[in-house]
């Protein structure tokens, strides 16, 4: 306590006041402005030379783990029947090619161009079925029912990905990634193919219309402004409570120090301190 007592001098409170004012201005600014978000999607097509190109690309970068004929090895699963949607999801989010073997493959900038991804996807699809890459029309959120999407999301997605799509922890170091960067098509493909630990939500259980509603909820929530100025990761009441506790109690301590601090006149003035 004596350490604090010796240091509670007026300049500290000047800095604290400046900090407080900056925070207040920042909050005001964030309240007046507002963050927006938008996303785009693209179409696709496939043809026979595409499959040849994809086969060549596959042999270079994928066959070492997934096998020469995509039959799978001990390092990687079989891709026969995985489908074009799974390939597009894994490659366009940069999760494949895998950089290192971790509990969870992290999102990275994609290694391949979209045209190359289409080629590899066409090759994998030619090996045997699987869900196709959704068209721009299929993953468009135009006219989607965001309210229904929210109900579906809360019942089937929010427990892992958080109600605002901020992601969350799973077992053994795995995690459900945040949905803040995923495109409409990637969200659609993830539901359709169930990458890694994620369950599959096929089109006969969650219809394409349901999936569009969910995408609309995810993207619309993402675009929601944070009028307080801070999203705090949108993880929910835990972080908010932590910040309120630490920040609020810190401010109270500073205020208490200010109220009880000795005034300069007392130390330098005519009244002597005999303690």
């Amino acid at each position: 306590m004596r350490w604090i007592t010796a240091r509670r001098r007026r300049p500290l409170f000047g800095y604290a006041a400046v900090l407080l004012a900056l925070v207040a201005v920042g909050m005001l600014y964030a309240a007046v402005t507002g963050l927006g978000g938008s996303s785009a999607s693209a179409g696709s097509g496939s043809s026979s030379p595409l499959i040849t190109q994809g086969k060549n690309l596959f042999a270079v970068s994928c066959a070492s783990c997934h096998g020469e004929y995509a039959q799978g090895t001990e390092r990687g699963p079989s891709l026969i029947g995985a489908g074009a949607a799974a390939v597009d999801f894994q490659l366009s989010t940069g999760r494949m090619p895998l950089k290192e073997t971790n509990a969870e493959a992290a999102r990275k900038p994609p290694v391949y161009t979209q045209q190359e991804i289409y080629a590899i996807a066409a090759y994998v699809a030619s090996l045997g079925g699987g869900p196709a890459i959704p068209s721009g029309q299929q993953d468009s959120t135009a006219g989607a029912d965001t309210g229904l999407g929210q109900s579906l999301f809360n019942a089937n997605c929010a427990q892992c990905h958080n109600y605002a799509g901020a992601g969350g922890a799973l077992t053994d170091g795995k995690y459900a990634p945040p949905l803040t960067q995923a495109t409409n098509r990637q969200i659609y493909e993830a539901m359709l193919t169930g990458p890694e630990a994620m369950p599959v939500f096929n089109n006969s259980t969650l219809t394409p219309a349901d999936k569009r509603d969910i995408i609309a909820y995810v993207t619309q929530t993402r675009a929601e402004a944070n009028p307080g100025g801070f999203s705090l990761g949108r993880i929910g009441p835990t972080t908010e409570g932590l910040v309120a506790w630490l920040g609020g109690i810190g401010a109270l301590v500073l205020a208490a120090m200010w109220i009880t601090a000795k005034r300069r006149e007392e130390r330098t003035g005519e009244i002597t301190d005999n303690r």
């Binding site: 229904l148 077992t171 053994d172 630990a197 369950p199 969650l206 005034r263 006149e265």
Partner: protein
Amino acid sequence: MSDNDSDLENTPEERQPPHRVIGTPPPARGLLTEPGPSGEGDGGGIEPYGPGGPGAPELRELPADPPNPVSARNWERVAAAVFLISALASVGFVAAYVGLEVHDRGDVVDAALRSNLALGSAMSLAFLAVGVGMVIWVRSIMPPVELTEERHPLASTPEDRAAFAETFVEGAEASQITKRPLLRRTLIAATVPVALAPLVLLRDLGPLPGTTLRHTAWKKGTRLLVYASNQPITPADFDSEGGMITVVPEGYQDNDEELAKSTSIIIKMAPGQLQAPTNLNWTVDNIVAYSKICTHVGCPAALYEQTTHRILCPCHQSTFDATKGAQVIFGPAPRPLPQLPITTNAQGYLVAQSDFHEPVGPSFWERG
């Protein structure tokens, strides 16, 4: 700290406290007062009213003026400005309440958040500025003197206490309560039931739960609907291994009270993955249904990892093995998630064979 302290420290115990609240103006000077023996500075020691009389020790008053009038005048302006800010913030609070519509057209959530921010900021500023102004006032305008206020004795005077005891005993004797046990006991018999009677009214706080905690809305033949989209499901629809979906009993999809108990998840496994103690007679085509209500405290346990077949509860990390009858493999849950017996009906839709065979959700007093 100053000579004021030493004066108060020398005060004898029996001194009566001054009849004056600190912070109120001192009694008019010159009436019933005389200069103290150590009078100095700006008027010095003044004896207040009180029963002490002229023989009582001298008490120092707060000096009326600040040591530095120029600085005090500047700080007075600062404090006044802060008080004005508080007033403006209060006006701003009213303006924000009136001006920011939250039920208007457009984005209601966003409007409510903005309204909350404006109301909260304005009210915080209004309160904070009053406090800051008062602290500036005390610290920089009032004279820098520390006062010690003696603690008053809490007990009444011995005379008062003796008088009360005497009155009490007199009253008790006059009432003859000690001599007339019949009256005393019947009075007790009259008052105790009156006090207990309101306890009976607690029964009207609501219907008793009865056996509702032991049953859910699932019955033989109830179809499983996908929650929110309310579509019935066939095993052919739900044919992707690693699939999971939240289902509710048909007819109760909008009944939140029933859904709090009945909501379940169905999971599609690869052939051969489901093992004992899963009841395989209660599954269809490697589709198994479990209650979604965690047996710990009833959170929706539905973080399903299709690679490890674990079901997690997001609240306290209880982990259930979906291939082995949702046995608990980690966490505080005391029991496996109850398995819902399912089959298909004549049209091929997934239906319940019966209700759950045990109460779903957390433990309760009479669960057994």
